[in-house]
């Protein structure tokens, strides 16, 4: 396993996949359901009343609740929404706490300003760290973040300016109510960030990364950028609340500011509520803090173990959290992002720019790809002209998918050149290629499992488009491919044929110059095939050249394409008009087996 390599997404269509629990679960609401407004109002009212009416122990408890809520929401952004589970968000808590303390002690800033400034500092640090740490995937990111916290903890214990192992003492002051108010404000801010993610294009991209980072890149999502932005945003709430905590306690030291068990609690609250959901962290924090407070009071010595036990039990037996239960009753479902209440007519895309109109759209020269000792492609030449449909056929292992991967930036060619509209594109990232105008589908469909058909298509349509243009484009694609009946359906509910259609729709929504179709008709029934064939025929009307790689359904593609290219063991063995090529004895030999006389 390679910490930097793309990790495979969860098994497609697996009934118990977590993403499924995070989906809408069927019905699509648009806008703000009433019970969500009521829940928000109830939280605000309770927060305000607590602040006005209580003091002492109760106010402290409420402050703790909102502190953890802010932390849980911060964690939820990067880990729940974006899928980068971090065991080290406490790093930003510690940095925020220390930043605040040092700003109060040395820059003599007022505490509330210092906490906000420390949040900004933590965000800057997150920007730098994110560029490094977010290269790690899956458990490696989790472990890496955990390691980072230990490093910071030891560094701070050695740093005499920050009090070293002794810690720092802040001038104590009775500001409990003001601290509470600012804590609530941070928690609300953190909630609003999560709200924005669950309703916006940025959030859609983040969730796409969680579902399948590679496919997201192929849809033109700037994955690195989205991850780093999310990481920075997720660092701010813990940093600011830590400043408030430090001021409130008027004391801080490395073990308390970089305490993994504090992080663990925030994770636990998110999990209980439902990670990756908008309301999960708030519900989880309030319920468990209120119930938990009673239990901890009974068994103070077993608090840590009970946390551990709860995390284990929730992950194993209750992985969707409270929100997943409520969703079964139709509550707290995530509205479909940017879905209009009725599907707009949409308008076909304007013709693309005239750059390199004359030459071939796509040109491959002397392309070789080797994996260790295996040569998957050898010295391949290929040319696709505008408005042309070509079809690449060959037996299993002939190199079709490798060719597509090499063109779309997923595999680095060993030798050779690839030009798109006359420009060399070798070494471009999949994101850049998708945005430049090369769309692709995957051999095994990889739609975003936590989303609806609409969101999958919109994701690709959003590339560089403004909101209205993207909605228009997505609507047009849905209509062009005849998917009006399923546009609001979560893709986990779709049969394989429809999933392939979603693949094609996503690629088309990019409005590419070339679409590479990797076995787009495999496993489809005749009716579904016919629909895809229609779509491929129509591609030309929109100025899209198509390259289709097929294996089994040769008959279905022969009358569609202008040219057939035959690959065998990574080499081109024939090329030309379909009827001529399919009669070529060498092709028949390679593809169908030697002809026995």
């Amino acid at each position: 396993m390679d910490p930097l390599a793309p990790t495979p997404p969860s098994a497609p269509g697996s009934l118990r996949s977590l993403t499924r629990r995070l989906t809408l679960g069927g019905a699509a609401g648009v806008g703000w359901p009433r019970h969500e407004l009521a829940l928000g109002a109830a939280f605000l009212l309770a927060a305000a009343l607590t602040g006005l009416l209580t003091s002492g122990y109760l106010l402290q408890l409420a402050t703790d609740i909102f502190t953890f809520m802010a932390m849980a929401y911060g964690w939820n952004l990067i880990s729940g929404m974006t899928g980068y589970v971090s065991f080290g968000q406490i790093a930003f808590y510690g940095l925020g706490g220390y930043g605040t303390a040092l700003l109060i002690l040395h820059a003599h800033l007022p505490w509330y300003v210092a906490a906000l400034a420390a949040g900004a500092v933590a965000a800057l640090i997150a920007l730098v760290l994110g560029g490094v740490m977010l290269r790690l995937r899956g458990i490696f990111f989790a472990l890496g973040m955990f390691g980072l916290v230990q490093i910071l903890s030891i560094l701070f214990s050695q740093w005499s300016f920050a009090g070293g192992g002794q810690g720092l003492i802040l001038p104590g002051q009775l500001t409990a109510r003001a601290v509470y108010a600012e804590t609530v404000a941070v928690a609300i801010l953190a909630f609003l960030l999560n709200l924005y993610y669950s309703r916006s294009a940025l959030g859609l991209k983040a969730m796409a990364i969680r579902d399948d980072e590679e496919a997201a890149a192929a849809m033109g999502v700037h994955t690195t950028r989205v991850k780093i932005v999310t990481f920075v945003l997720s660092a701010i709430p813990p940093a600011v609340v830590a400043g408030l905590v430090a001021w409130n306690r008027s004391y801080l030291d490395p073990p308390s500011m970089f305490d993994p068990s504090v992080d663990f609690q925030a994770i636990l609250f998110s999990l209980l509520g439902g990670m990756g959901t908008l309301w999960g962290p708030a519900l989880g924090t309030v319920i468990l803090e209120l119930v938990g407070e009673q239990i901890w009071a009974q068994f103070p010595e077993f608090q840590l173990g009970l946390f551990g036990l709860l995390v284990v039990l929730i992950v194993v037996f209750f992985p969707g959290g409270i929100v997943s239960v409520l969703r079964r009753a139709g509550w707290l479902r995530r509205p479909v992002i940017m879905a209009p209440s009725t599907l707009p007519e949409g308008s076909p895309p304007a013709p693309t720019e005239e750059v390199g109109r004359d030459g071939p759209v796509l040109e491959v020269r002397g392309l070789s790809v080797r994996f260790g000792g295996v040569t998957a492609l050898r010295d391949l030449d290929l040319e696709v002209r505008r408005g042309e449909t070509i079809s690449i056929i060959g037996a299993n292992g002939a190199g079709k998918t490798t060719l597509f991967n090499a063109i779309t930036g997923f595999v680095r060619p060993t030798q050779g050149e690839v030009r798109f509209r006359g420009r060399p594109i070798k070494g471009w990232s999949p994101t850049r290629l998708a945005r430049a105008g090369i769309g692709r589908t995957f051999q095994i469909p990889r739609p975003m499992e936590s989303m609806t058909v609409w969101e999958n298509v919109l994701l690709a349509a959003l590339n560089g488009r403004r909101r209205h243009a993207a909605v228009d484009q997505a609507a047009w694609v849905i209509r062009a491919l005849g998917m009006e009946a399923i546009w609001l359906e979560p893709v986990v509910n779709l049969p394989p044929g429809h999933r392939r259609q979603v693949e094609l729709a996503r690629a088309l929504a990019l409005q590419p110059d070339v679409i590479l179709l990797d076995e787009v008709m495999a496993g489809m029934n005749r009716e579904e095939q016919e629909r895809i064939r229609d779509a491929i025929r129509k591609l030309h009307e929109y100025g899209v050249s198509a390259v289709a790689g097929v294996e089994h359904v040769v008959a279905a593609i022969a009358d569609l394409c202008d040219r057939i290219v035959v690959l065998d063991f990574g080499q081109k063995i024939a090329e030309g008009e379909p009827q001529r090529v399919l009669k070529d004895p060498a092709v028949i030999g390679a593809y169908l087996g030697e002809v026995q006389e």
Partner: protein
Amino acid sequence: MLILQLLVNGVLLAGMYLLMAQSLNLIFGVMRIVNFAQGTMIAVAGLFTVWLATRVGLNPFLAIPIVFVAMFLIGAVVERALLRRITLRGTQGELMTLMVTFGVSFVLINLALKAWGSEYVSLPYLQSSWRLGPIEFAKSLVIAGAFGTVLSAALFSWLNLTGSGKALLATSQSRIGAGTCGIDAGRMSTLAFALGSALAAAAGTVLVLVTPLGPQSGNDLTILCFVVIALGGLGDYLGAILGALVVGVAQSVLGFYLGGNVQVLLPYILLILIMLFIPRGLSLSRLTR
């Protein structure tokens, strides 16, 4: 001569680290998960040994079988009752499993804190040393290092020479493939997790002879083990030998010249550097192949 002494200590340390790391490798190989509770299991086993030695008066080496069996059972229960029920696949499944073992480690830490307090303790046993010219061989370190090496070798032979070991190895290479050969992959997972836990416990028993352990030292140990196997390439039993040597010697030498904090920091810094820059490890077996 000093440097030679430090190298010797490092190599002996490596023998023990090897056993700690191989137990993690065993679990990772078959189940594709990192047992975050590994370090805590090592620490708890060490503390249990100290308790047996000081309160019951049991020789630490007689404690090994007891600790081994106890942790084997705990590991088996954790796998059967918890990890098995996580049906998620892919990244999400790995993360959820990591989370569960994270939770298990908190439970174990809490129980250890309750039973033995938060003190770091060591077991004074075999305090003298042998001399060979200018080099001193601390008896406890020699015994611990040798024990680790021998048990690691035994594990390696079991995996490669016996039927049940081969079945386990086969499962780690391909669960489906092993399944078609009639190997019960589920049972192999239980076996791997239980045996991995038990070997970690055995390592803890000898580790506590040379270094003080406390309930909270688990995380440091987990990361240490992970770094060793990541250096050698995850799931690579021979590579781990190199990883253990690098970490053991580096800790011994750098710890002497740069201080104890560097010794503690080293695994964490290596962790991040390895994952970022040599994600496949040093790939010993790929070079020899």
